[in-house]
Homo-oligomer: 211 residues x 2
DNA sequence: GGGTATTAAACAAACGTTTAATTAATTTTG
DNA sequence: CAAAATTAATTAAACGTTTGTTTAATACCC
């Protein structure tokens, strides 16, 4: 068990997460973080050892783990395979859009990060989550509800890719639909709903035999 | 008309593009670029004015412009609306995957870039390209081939999002399908084909009335 | 020889981290 | 329970690098 974090440590982590998501890891200095958090610069090295390790801490705290939820889904007899996939879709929409700042960081760092611990962590997450989606689709195929020739990684690419690209273009989406006057939470609700309907439509069409 | 670039300028631009796509803009120093290109550091300021302006030059050279191609598509009477959308899909796959390094940079900089010229440039590109997709879909609707209630920006999010997420996870996709022994060009051909089939399936299902 | 290209060196500013000193909190002890 | 001892938290300053850019001198070319 990891030792729990102090209030100031959490403050630094949250502040750093915000700044990293806006200016990137290399574009944010430890002085930026400390000043924005109202904490002395030296405290970052004191608490986390280094700026790099602070970043690792952010990843360990915020990485999406769908293990238990998918396990629950798999053994839930009240849902048919397609409904289970629908649940998975909503799980990803919620998981990504409720962690907007972290996922913006993740999107960048997947490309430019060189930190071995973070690479390992992200790779593990991808592999695990990919296996769960595999299990869910195989289940639907075994029950005869899903088509046989399905490109499973491409299904994941469309799921995560659509949500991520929506996340990056949230402002664009807002002005396109003239939703500037909506409150933040309400706009987020609208986007989640639109994404949900859209991706479920896709999944139904690609996975099942009929529309 | 912009003055044409010298050999060394192009060398610097290409080297910088590669490094930016691997380590990010802020993670790459002008000394990194100059050394990798075998050119004196001062030449970057001499040629481009600053590191920032060098980045702008990269964006101006590599930004995807589908204007003419879509204009041709719109007035091509030999293709029905769905075939035109298929052409658009392949246009995006080709446009993104044949500019892998630049699009990795674009993915990052959409999130963390603060440079006003680049923000403007990217916004214009998005708006323009979005309008063209609009035109193509509206055409299909007018001809009665496409459904009426289509969330057009979501169609774009799925198109660009799926391709981008595939680009970021190319290595993952390679090992998943055990394609490590394939030559680079061959692997790229496979991915493009898979993407093409996959996204066209989605577009057909979402846009038209029947599958 | 006049304009362009190229260089090594120097520039100040910003970087992540460490240090040494001080304050605050906690524990030990009488 | 208070005083002393010990540990933890916090600070401003300094450290050595690295950063992007500029300079002033030199080489090159028509």
């Amino acid at each position: 068990m990891k030792p729990s974090l102090s209030i100031k440590q959490v403050q630094l982590l949250d502040t750093a997460e915000t700044l990293f998501s806006q200016k990137g890891f290399d574009g944010t200095s430890v002085r930026d973080i400390a000043e924005a958090a109202g904490i002395n610069t030296a405290m970052i090295s004191y608490y986390f050892g280094s700026k790099e390790k602070l970043m690792e801490e952010i990843f360990e705290r915020k990485s999406l783990n769908i293990k238990e939820k998918v396990a629950d889904l798999l053994k839930d007899d009240s849902l048919d395979p397609l409904e289970k996939m629908y649940s998975l879709v909503d799980m990803y929409i919620e998981g990504i859009l409720s962690r907007k700042t972290f996922h913006r960081i993740l999107l960048c760092e997947q490309i430019i990060n060189q930190n071995p611990s973070i690479i390992t962590l992200v790779d593990k997450m991808k592999t695990k989550n990919s296996e769960y989606i595999n299990d869910l689709i195989r289940l639907g195929q075994k029950k005869g509800m899903f088509k046989k020739n399905i490109d499973i990684p491409m299904m994941t690419n469309t799921l995560v890719g659509t949500i991520s690209h929506t996340l990056v273009n949230l402002d664009f989406y807002k002005s396109y639909h003239h939703l500037e006057n909506l409150k933040d939470e309400e706009f987020e609700r609208v986007v989640k709903k639109k994404l949900s309907v859209h991706i479920k439509n896709i999944y139904k069409a690609i996975l099942t035999h009929e529309s």
